[in-house]
């Protein structure tokens, strides 16, 4: 199949295939317009529109899902439809919806322009969705930038707060710094995948995989892959590219932090998985070929990154006294666990195992999103306006003063820790199982030992809440309806995914995460 010929002959447009993304984009624009031309302080209006938009996007995604006729592609392979995309799309939509709910009260109490925030959230969501649905490196980059630019702004959304300023500035500088790496990697890959036979380079992910054996500049291919790895590594915050995370998460407003830890990270994983598992896939032939070398290289690099990430995340989290910062390190650690599943997907010699591993990663990120958003919802409730009370000490003895908040937070923490009966446990089992299937025993043991380390800081918060007596006065915050909904949903989610995850896992697994052009 000739790429160029296809392009010139048949404009391969299918709006149906990008319907969810389109809806979200349009809703973002609508929200912006409503905000600009409607009455001020309409957070309910813009919020409702956004929520409705997310719902519509979810329905359309579900429509794509239900009308599943196998993997598909459009826009000359730039957009693909497969299990990986749909799975991640739902994760993003859930994250956005919950973030929206969490931020409802916050936006009002901080007297921030609600419409702006909602539209930024919509655009960020659209960016994430594009990242998942990209079949081409350019779309990956575009989606990433849509997401990033929106997130930079959201980070510094509380303009008058110096901490938020600093957070957003750091995120912006480092984010675009790493984007440059990613982009350079894309450029080098584009150049390297040209063939001596005269075919120009390509940025189509599936095409890259096919070009590797005959690549004209194999060395550039290595360099490109390495650069892209750095770029994605930054996005999902693997050590040592994680350095921005704690500062940014701490300084950003709590709802934004919640969003960033769950959404963009998952989006990063979506693209990262897509690019590396499908563009530099497992090669059956011996180690002599470029393909297998590059495959081995990125796998081993990821193994190193995973070990470093899990360890750094957990070990440093122990020393933290700020809850948001602690959760930031915890999110780093969780990225590490997810990378373990990612490695399994990369190393899988057959589609079946690869899809199982990919769905494990998706499931893991889904559970992480649920419990993480729940935890941040509670953190926001306790922090109050201006994120004042985020130190561990602020939580002391509130266990029986605010029993529901404390119970919910404890549940989320235990789930993050991976206790059985909660979502976190099943997630861990899935990724560890995938990794063990590929023989990564040491990696799994490292992960497990890290889990034990993580017990220390998760428990610490529980201990502070329940086992200490409060010395100062504590006025229990009233839980607003929106947060209440979030808490109920996330608690139910944690239990549902922990006790009866079969349905969800099945749903993800039955849709093969296959890049279309591979057929």
């Amino acid at each position: 199949m000739n790429f160029l010929a296809l392009q010139s002959v048949l404009p391969d447009v299918s709006f149906a295939l990008i319907l969810p993304e389109l809806i979200v984009c349009i809703v973002g624009v609508v929200v912006m317009l409503v905000d600009a031309f409607g009455k001020p302080a309409q957070r309910w209006v813009t919020g409702s529109i956004s929520l409705a938009g997310l719902l519509a996007a979810a329905i359309s995604a579900a429509w794509l899902w239900l009308g599943w006729g196998g993997a598909a592609q459009a826009f000359n392979g730039m957009i693909v439809l497969d299990g990986l995309r749909l799975g991640f799309t739902f994760v993003f939509l859930i994250v956005s919806a919950l973030t929206l709910l969490i931020s409802m009260v916050w936006v009002e109490s901080e007297k921030l322009p609600a419409g702006e925030f909602h539209s930024l959230l919509m655009f960020a969501t659209a960016g994430m969705m594009f990242m998942a649905s990209a079949g081409d490196l350019v779309i990956v980059f575009l989606g990433l930038e849509i997401l990033s630019i929106a997130t930079y702004v959201m980070c510094g959304f509380r303009r008058t707060d110096v901490r938020a300023n600093e957070s957003s500035m750091k995120y912006f500088i480092l984010g675009s710094f790493s984007s440059a790496f990613l982009l350079y990697g894309i450029a080098l890959t584009y150049g390297a995948t040209s063939t001596a036979a005269g075919l120009p380079g390509t940025t189509n992910i599936a095409e890259i995989a096919r070009r590797i054996p005959e690549a004209q500049f194999p060395l550039l291919l290595f360099a490109g892959a390495a650069m892209m790895l750095v770029g994605f590594g930054f996005k999902i915050a693997t050590a040592p590219f994680h350095v921005w995370t704690p500062d940014v998460y701490e300084g950003a407003p709590t709802p934004v932090t919640a969003f960033m830890a769950a959404g963009p990270k998952a989006a990063g994983f979506a693209s990262f998985l897509r690019v590396f598992v499908f563009a530099f896939p497992f090669v059956v032939a011996g180690p002599a070929t470029i393909g297998s070398q590059i495959h081995q290289a990125w796998l081993w690099a990821l193994v190193a990154l995973a070990v470093a990430t899990m360890t750094v995340g957990n070990v440093v989290a122990i020393t933290q006294n700020n809850v948001k910062r602690m959760l930031a390190y915890s999110s780093i650690a969780h990225a590490g666990y997810a990378v373990v599943g990612f490695i399994a997907a990369g190393a899988a010699p057959d589609f079946e195992h690869r899809d199982a591993a990919i769905s494990a990663v998706i499931f893991y990120l889904l559970t992480y999103a649920v419990m993480n958003l729940g935890a941040f919802a509670v953190v926001q409730m306790i922090a109050r306006a201006g994120d004042r009370r985020t130190e561990v000490e602020d939580y002391s003895g509130i266990g029986f003063q605010s029993p529901w908040l404390a119970f919910a937070l404890s549940l989320f923490l235990l789930s993050l820790l991976g206790m059985p009966l909660t979502a976190g446990f099943i997630g861990k089992v899935m990724v560890f199982r995938a990794a063990l299937d590929q023989g990564y025993f040491v990696l799994v043991v490292v992960g497990v030992l890290n889990t034990a380390v993580s017990a220390y800081y998760y428990l610490r918060l529980i201990i502070v809440m329940f086992f200490r007596e409060r010395t100062t006065a504590w006025d229990a915050p009233r839980i607003p309806a929106s947060i209440g909904i979030v808490l109920v949903l996330t608690i139910l989610g944690v239990f549902y995914l922990g006790l009866f995850p079969g349905r969800v896992i099945n749903a993800i697994q039955t849709k093969p995460a296959m890049s279309v052009s591979m057929k």
């Binding site: 889990t451 086992f467 896992i505």
Partner: protein, 527 residues
């Protein structure tokens, strides 16, 4: 009902916890009613669990009351539960100790009663689940889930150093069990299922053969988790802290049931699934067990705190259990199982006694007491009886188990120096007398030296009623152990025949082995 009996037994305490929460939401709730709800549910649970005995008759092994439902299909996890002769008594021990634990908290727990009884209920469900799980993932789930309520029980209602103790307890045990999780997943990788019986069947008849190295690591992962839980020397240091700081009910359950999860796991999984490796590891385990027996006793002897003393005595007693398990003889394993029950009953009772005086004096230091027999004759009498059971006096429950264990290890062909090991272990019985009597001497006998003790009220009806069932059980178990042994025999034999070496010719060791060979014959006849 019959079909779902086990599920009901597991879920009833949890339902009780939920009912308590629901009741607390009523506007007309009364704090004092929480314990009644909890007690009611636990008593019904106990009554139901007694029906299990009817199903598990003597003479044959195998699992009864089996319930097998696909739980998470995509992971391959089943909800597969069942009891056999081994787990039967442990389940009943659990359901028996639960009401006792609840009643023991009747006046001791004033604060946060709702949460307290909720955690107790959750704990009960998890513990029962551990003993009846026939799916490895389910087992792990319950095993780990029991950690959290206990963590809270120690942390919220514990003593002064409760936080240290709770964290130590949690992390110590979590480290071990997480490695076990890796092993469980690895087994799934090899056999494609988490199901215990299926894996066992695959292992015995033509399934994938495990390499020695794989077995080594799997065995080690399981054993590590269980040895921490038991706790086996030198992994025992969480126990004294946890016991000392836990509230009375927590200590009772901790000693009575939680520790048994470790030995149960060793028997069911380490011996059951990896017999060759179990034989390989036997010298190590036996050595540690014997060291633990003596070490625990010696350290118990010098404890200034009654509760710590009882805690260290648990290290010693549980060492016996491990010794029995790794003797691979019918006597040893049956004895070990019996010792688990006996230890649960008598150590549970001892912790209750400590709780009684703690409630009165708010101290557990031995030096604070003395001459309690004068103001508290009932307490003293019953305490002495429970202590004697712990010492291993014949016709009380402690003796049967320890004797059978020693007999088993003495006649074991699997132990390298069976007589030396047994003789050393036997000194543990001497030490038990030393530390218990020394403690009794300083707490119960003598003159009342501390005026604060002079007018302590004796046990009230509730407290006596709490203890009497346990004491009656001690005597019954000591005098007529066949009720228990006959029902566990066939199940024990199933595991033992796998793990015991086939007879080999030659020496005195051969003679010992042939003794086991004959016991296997006996078992066949019994069927």
């Amino acid at each position: 009902m019959q079909h779902h009996l086990l599920t009901i037994i597991i879920l009833l305490p949890v339902a009780g916890a939920l009912a308590t929460v629901a009741y607390s939401l009523l506007p007309s709730k009364r704090e004092s009613n929480y314990k009644w709800i909890a007690l009611g549910f636990s008593l019904v649970d106990f009554a139901l669990s007694l029906f299990l005995i009817r199903g598990a008759q003597t003479g044959s092994g195998g699992f009864r009351f089996v319930e097998d439902v696909l739980w998470i299909g995509s992971i391959g996890a089943h909800y597969h539960v069942g009891v056999d002769g081994i787990s039967l008594w442990l389940v009943i021990l659990t359901t028996l100790l639960m009401p006792i634990a609840i009643v023991s908290s009747w006046t001791a727990i004033h604060k946060r009663q709702l949460a307290y009884y909720v955690f107790l209920g959750l704990l009960a469900g998890a513990m029962i689940g551990v003993f009846v799980s026939l799916d490895l993932l389910l087992f792990y789930l319950f095993f780990e889930a029991s950690l959290v309520p206990m963590f809270f029980l120690i942390g919220i209602w514990g003593g002064e150093r409760r936080i240290y103790a709770a964290v130590k307890f949690f992390i110590y045990t979590a480290v071990g069990s997480l490695l076990m999780l890796v092993a469980i997943i690895a087994l799934f990788y090899i056999y494609g299922t988490f199901d215990y019986t299926t894996i066992l069947a695959a292992m015995t008849s033509g399934g994938p053969a495990l390499s020695a190295q794989t077995q080594f690591w799997l065995f080690l992962a399981f054993a590590f988790a269980f040895c921490i839980k038991i706790p086996l020397f030198p992994l025992h240091t969480w126990l004294p802290d946890a016991h000392t700081e836990a509230p009375t009910a927590g200590s009772v359950i901790l000693a009575g049931v939680l520790l048994k999860m470790g030995t149960y796991g060793l028997l069911r999984f380490n011996l059951g699934l990896f017999p060759e490796m179990a034989r390989e590891f036997a010298p190590v385990m036996i050595t540690l067990a014997v060291i633990g027996i003596i070490y625990g006793a010696l350290v118990a002897m010098v404890q200034p705190d009654v509760k710590r003393l009882v805690a260290y005595s648990s290290v010693s007693h549980m060492g016996f259990v491990v010794l029995g398990l790794f003797s691979f003889t019918e006597m040893g394993i049956q004895g070990a199982l019996y010792q688990m029950l006996a230890h649960g009953v008598s150590t549970g009772a001892l912790f209750l006694f400590v709780g009684f005086i703690y409630e009165r004096r708010h101290t557990r230091m031995i030096s604070e007491f003395g001459g309690l027999s004068t103001p508290m004759p009932w307490f003293s009498t019953l305490f002495v009886i429970a202590s004697l059971s712990s010492i291993g006096l014949p016709f009380l429950n402690g003796f049967v188990g320890e004797f059978l264990i020693m007999l088993g290890s003495w006649t074991s062909g699997a132990i390298q120096y069976p007589r030396a090991a047994t003789m050393l272990a036997g000194t543990g019985v001497i030490w038990a007398a030393v530390y218990m009597l020394w403690m009794l001497q300083r707490v119960v006998f003598g003159k009342v030296t501390n005026p604060e003790n002079a007018n302590l009220p004796d046990l009230n009806a509730r407290e006596i009623g709490l203890i009497i069932p346990l004491l009656a059980l001690m005597v019954f178990m000591g005098v007529y152990p066949r009720v228990f042994l006959d029902r566990s025999r066939a199940s024990v034999e199933e595991i033992r025949t796998r793990v015991a070496q086939p007879p080999a010719g030659g020496s005195f060791a051969d003679a010992r082995r042939s003794a086991d060979g004959l016991t296997a014959e006996d078992a066949k006849h019994a069927k």
